[in-house]
Every structure is written in C-alpha cells, then in structure tokens.
Symmetry: C2
Subunit: 456 residues, 2 copies
C-alpha cells in the first residue's frame, strides 16, 4: 500500500488519532500470548468516536488494509497480535461509561472502559457487574466481549456473554449496526449479539455495549480447604457442585501452583499441601450454612485443613493469592497456558492425563483452575532460552488440548482461539462446522480485512 | 415439482414417515397464530432419526422444495405455518430424552421432547429445567429453542436460550454439524448455538440439544396483590425489581384480564380489581422475607389486598388462573396478541399508550404480562366474523408495536417474528442490520428452502 493512502487516513482523522511513531506502534504489536507470532503493523489508530471508527473501516475497505482491533492487549491467545501491514485499531480511548441505569439494571459503555472501572461504577448504584477475568484491573469491556472472557465469578454468575444485551458495531465496510436490545427479553431477528461475542474482532468492531447488571450480592464468606493429594480435592469439587450448594467461587490450585505462589510472595499457604480448594458463598444469611456444608464435605473426603476467612481482609488475601498464579509462574519460567474444559465426570481423567503428559514430555505442569466449571489452566513451564525444552513444552501444550477433546471437552473455555489454538479448532468443530464458520466470517467481512488469520 | 420426486422421498424413508393423507396434512398446516396465512403443503414427513432428517434435506436440496420444520405448532407468530408446495417436517417423533446427567447438570434430548416431560425427568434427578412457556404441557424443546421461548420463570432464570449449551443441526444441504459443547464454558469458534436459538427453523433443523439444568429450587412461596388502579401496580413491579429482591415469578393482570378469567372459570379472583400482581420467591428460608418485603411495598403503594398462598394447592390455583388467560380471552373473541417489551422506566407510558390505542381504534385490549421483565402481552380482542372490527384490531396490534419501538423497546420479547411481525422488523433492526441478517440466512441456506418467508 502507498504512502498516499496513509496520508489520506491522517487527513481524515484528528491529528492525535493516528500514530506512526515506531516505538509506540511496537508497544502495541502483541497481547500476552508471548509465544504467538506478531507481524509488522503499518500504524496505530486511536479513535475517540464511532464515526472515527467508521472512517477507519471505510478507508481500510477502500485500500484493502487489514485492521486488528485491540483493547488492553491482555489476551492470552494472540487474538490482538498484529499481522503484517495491518492497522492496529485501539479502542482504549473510547472509554466513557455512558450510563448506569438502576431501573433497567443496565450499563451502556464504550468498549475502552476498564472492567474494574465499570464494576466500581455499578457498585455506586448498588449494582454488580459480575464478569471478572484475572486481568480485570486492566482489561477493557470491548476486549472482554470480543473474547467472551470468564473469570472467578463464572461458577455462579456466568461469563461475559451472559451479560451482553446489545451492541453497536462498525462493520468491515464502515456501516454501523445496532444488535440486540436494552430490554431484558427480545427475539426480533437473529441473535447477532451473541454471535459477535467471542468473535475476537473478526466480524466487526464493537463501539458500544449495553450490559446487564445485577443487584449487588451480600459480602461473600470465603473458605479454604487443603489436601495432601489431588484426587480428594477433585472429588470434593464434584460433590459440592452436584450437592445443590451454589458457591459464588470455587477455585483449585495444585501443589506446584501453591509452591510457586509461596515462592513468589509469602501468602501463608502451606507449602506441603498438594491441592487447595478456595470457595465462597454470597447468599447472605445462608452463606454460613453453605460454607459449613462445603467444609464438612471436604473434611469427610480427607482435607487436612479447612478454614473460614475471619474477615474481609483475610478473604481478600486468599483471593489475591489465587490471582497471583500468573506472575508467580512467570517467575519460575516461560509457559504455555492451556484453557481446557471437560465434563465433570472426566475431571480426574484430565488431571491424571496431564500428569502423564508432564512425565512423557519431561516438563513441569502447574494446574490451577476454575474447578467449579471444570475449566482448568495447566501452565506448561519451561526455562527461558532452552529451545529443546520449549519444543517439548509446545508438544505438551498441544497434547493437553488433544486430551480434553478425547474426554469430550473443549480446547478453550474462556481464553479464545486467537492464533494459538487454530490448529486444533477443526478437530473440535468438525470439518463441516469449521467451513460454515468460515462462511459466516466471509458474510460479515467479504474482503477478509478484519483481524485476518484469527479464530477461523 | 413432479410426482416422481415425491416417490423418491417415499422410497428413501420408512413407510410411516411420509404422510400425504389430506386430512392429516391439513391438521399440520398452521400454528396458533390463527390470523397468519398458511399455504398448501405437499406432504408431511415425520422422521425418527437424524439420518432421516438428512435424507429429507438432501432430497429437498436436490428438488428445491421448501421445508417447514415443526414442533407442537403451539407458536404464536406463524413461524411453523406451511408455505405453498412445502414439505412439513415434524420433529415430534424424535422425542427421546437421551440423558439426564446430575454431575454435569445437563440433559441431552431430541427436539420432539415435550417441555413438561423434560421438566419432570429433570426433577426425578433433583434437577430443574426452568424455561416454562405457557404451552409447556404441549410444546416441544425443539420448538422452544427455535423460538427462544420464554415463560413465567424468566424473571429469575432467563429464557430458553440461556439453557442451550450445544446443538446437533442438519443444514439445508443435509450435512450435519454439532455446535457448542457439553461443558459449562467454551469459546472455540463462533457462537453458532445462540445464533440458531430463535432462528425459527430458517437456518437449520435442530435434531438434538444439550441443555443446562440447575439444582431444583425449594418450593416457592406465592403471593398476590390486588389494586383498584393500574399505575400503583406498575410502580410496585418497578420498585420490587430495583429493590434487590429477586422474585422467581412476577406477573401482571389488568382488570379486563381478571374479569375474562373469572368469566371463563371462577378462580376466586376479585372482579372489581383493576390490576393484580402475582409474585413468588423460591429462596427457601429467605422466601418469607422476600414475600414480606414485596407485600409491604405493594401495601405502601395502595394495594387493596395482599395475600400469601397458604399451601401448594392455593399457590397452584393462582398460577393456573394466570395461565388461563389465553383460553379465557379466546372465549371473549378472536384476538391479536402482542408481545412487546420496553425499558422499565417506560412501562407506565406503554400501558397509557395501549389504553389510548384501544380508545382510538375502538377495540378492547386486555393486558396481561410478564411484568418483572417488562414483557407485556396486550390482547387486541374483537368479535369473530366482524371484518371491520378485525381491521381495527389489526391496526391497533401494529400501533402497539410501533409504540414499543418509540419507547426504546422491542416488537417481540419471546413469541418470535414468524410472518406476523415481519413488517415491523426492519424498523427495529435498521436497514443495514436487516440486510446483514438476510445475508446470514443466505449463508446457511443459499437456496432459500428452509422455512422461506419467515423472520427475515
């Protein structure tokens, strides 16, 4: 593409909206999937309005330039990584919370709003925006929607997509549509809103979202159970979830994860424990009963220690320890992070299989996970700079996805496909299914300029 | 199309799968939207397996024959009505509950399973399938999914689509795909499952569904509040929903609806009441507090009577009265049933506007509704056989949709578009949005043989 075309874009947008400075552009080339490829972008645009996004997409259509939409680039699958010659389209400056409505219990926001900012704004109206990916202090609502992000809350409240009622979207050709609705219910036409959720910027550019909020729950009671082996902890999670208790959080750390966190920072976790369940109930006066029931169940199954957080501070400390897993692993080495989910009956087979894969590939695998939803995040860890170890780790990373598929599960519970998991997608969707998805992509983006090479 | 083609179909399917008997075919021509047009079908097929559905679709593709999928034909928008020369494809015989899994809390079912049968099967495992359209004793899961059916439970538990994890679908060309997953979470590829939900048989034929179940809730406490005017009842519903109480049911009947039900059968309702709220809470030991809070709120706003059902029998009687609205209206006259939803702040404007529309068009409008979700069902009633009144009623029916759109709402909360609401769809979706939806339709069904003329 010619320099003239770029000048045309510069002329059509406010001066500070287009960045060609190599250092800034370089800083925006990739998300947190360190090991995914990233191309060389042409420039970075940072629009402030829907109209400016339309200008960008009309220009891109005219000049057949690829556009890679970006939020905070905290994704873990390479979905926001540059492709060669692309325009990086950062929505970070469209960061207005347009409205929080306590009657309809909705928020209307621009895509660049940071998740935690929305959560706090909702709370000021006595409302609750549940989706809480571990990146919530940085990641944006637009990115959360584009990846259908999960988090710790999912076990009770669901994922990002469950809270998206309607979208404003700029299409590949620069036209703008509104999908969905503001009302609780609505079935007028096809459900394009949910189709766009999780589409990783390949079908359109989200410029506004109408999100469901809920009444703020009562403060949660937090508890922890430690086990000297993995199987009883897995069994406890299965029995809790089928007992009718509805925990608002149910997380798992295996022994190596606990040790890595303790090595990173002393969080008071027992370094000898081989498994830990972290649980919450937020059912107000009934939370005491829930916690008692979960505790008894863990003890019956052989937990060596069961403790309820005595106050909010202790509770937040436990959650902080869980959220520390990513930096803690980073300190140990480089890692490939899996994101598999399997049917509950196959959880033990999954963990057994992961241990076998670690031994077979001579790699260390730490296995934290959202165990209430059976969505596990095995981290295949290896020494930075050791190419042979990296190759073994890559093989193990793939073997874990293969295992999840064999167990009737999915290659990705919440991180998305990006470029990282594309090689396994056809096996999950089937050839006919993948082909149909590619046709859907072509329907929205006939020129293939929206985030090409991602997802399908 | 030639008789040879039909012979080809007869030869490819078991003897009893193809029905050409005119009386039986005639019985399957339409759903319950009495006033929607229905064409003359060629024949009716009743497959028992996915393979037979594939045979039907391959045949239809080869001979360019339109196919209209049908469940129990309890729909209210003409979505299952025949078009001229079509094959009616009844899924009613594919009625197996393949699995109810208490560990994963899922059910795997064929599309012809009746909603109430699934609900009962789930309950036997201590589980709960919430979606409960008023047709639940007759309507099938396939039809519920195809229309994204709502019901009384939605205010707390959501609509059918919220419970669909995965589908097996036969495409227009006879290929079969599996969408979604069995696991709680999953983001591998585009969310075709939710796109197919509510698509009224225009994108594919659902042959199997994997559905989420929940732990069975405790028995609900039911209460009723009567008002001598409509506005305080509306206000009470708004305040209940924004108070943080989460009723498991919140229904509204206006004076004419109450009178029609009493005239149909003596349910002990006060004929002088101008508005009634029916409420439930199923939060176990906390339900007493919820009911007390809702009752106090209604009294403070001027309810003339507030009563809590003393036992299950009384509670079921109250629900039965609410569910009786359709036959009760039918006894009064023919009717067009609207299905509008608006933002909560516009509820009073909606009811005021409906009263004005009734006066302007010289028609009677009864207005029951799922008021907790602000999804109202104004019935525009008129004398059977009075063409002038029917014409006025049709105008009023349209004026109500127009009003809902002006108030920022939707033309259909849960009944679907079918043929009944197609004239208003473009206004809701916008020209660009509708065009995109038509392209999505063409992507799934390039020959346009799947339920043509419906939805988009």
């Amino acid at each position: 593409m010619s320099g003239d075309a770029l000048h045309e874009l510069l002329a059509a947008l406010p001066e500070d909206a287009v960045v060609v400075d190599p250092a800034t552009v370089e800083n925006h080339r990739r998300d947190r999937a360190e090991l995914c490829p990233a191309g060389s972008p042409l420039a970075l645009v940072r629009p402030r309005t829907t109209e400016q996004v339309q200008t960008v997409m009309r220009w891109a259509t005219r000049h057949r330039v690829s556009v890679v939409p970006q939020g905070a680039r905290t994704g873990l699958s390479g979905g926001a990584n540059a492709v060669d010659g692309c325009l990086l389209l950062s929505l970070a400056r469209m960061d207005a919370i347009i409205e929080v409505d306590p009657l309809d219990q909705v928020a209307v926001v621009q895509p660049g709003v940071v998740n935690a900012d929305l959560s706090r704004a909702a709370l000021e109206s006595g409302l609750f925006y549940p989706p809480d990916p571990s990146s919530w202090e940085e990641s944006t609502i637009g990115g959360n929607i584009a990846t259908n992000a999960g988090g710790l809350c999912c076990v009770k409240y669901g994922v990002t997509g469950d809270f998206v009622r309607g979208l404003e979207v700029v299409l590949a050709d620069g036209e703008v549509i509104r999908t969905g609705r503001r009302t609780v219910k609505g079935v007028a036409g096809y459900e394009l809103t949910k189709l766009l959720v999780g589409s990783e910027g390949t079908l359109g550019v989200i410029t506004q979202a109408t999100l469901s909020l809920r009444p703020a729950p009562e403060e949660a009671l937090t508890m922890v159970a430690l086990f000297d082996a993995v199987p009883p902890a897995l069994e406890a999670s299965v029995q809790i979830m089928s007992s009718g208790v509805r925990p608002s959080l149910l997380e798992f750390l295996d022994g190596p994860s606990i040790a890595a966190i303790q090595a990173y920072r002393d969080m008071g976790l027992s370094e000898s424990a081989q498994a830990m369940l972290l649980m919450q109930s937020d059912r107000g006066p009934l939370a005491v009963d829930d916690v008692a029931a979960m505790g008894e169940l863990c003890e019956r199954l052989g937990a060596v220690e069961v403790a309820v957080a005595s106050d909010r501070e202790e509770s937040e400390l436990l959650l902080a320890a869980r959220r520390m897993i990513n930096p803690a692993v980073e300190k140990v080495g480089a890692s490939f992070v899996d994101d598999v989910a399997v049917p509950r009956a196959r959880l033990i087979d999954l963990l057994d299989g992961i241990a076998r894969i670690a031994a077979d590939h001579d790699v260390q695998i730490m296995c934290p996970g959202h165990i209430g939803d059976v969505n596990m995040h095995p981290h295949v860890v290896f020494d930075r700079g050791d190419d042979a170890a990296a190759a073994r780790a890559a093989d193990a990373f793939g073997a874990i996805m293969q295992l999840a598929l064999e167990l009737g599960g999915t290659i990705t519970g919440e991180h998305g496909v990006g470029t990282l998991k594309r090689p396994w997608l056809e096996q999950e969707l089937g050839t006919v299914g993948l082909r149909l998805q590619q046709r859907v992509k072509a329907t929205f983006d006939p020129l293939g300029i929206l985030n090409p090479g991602k997802v399908v």
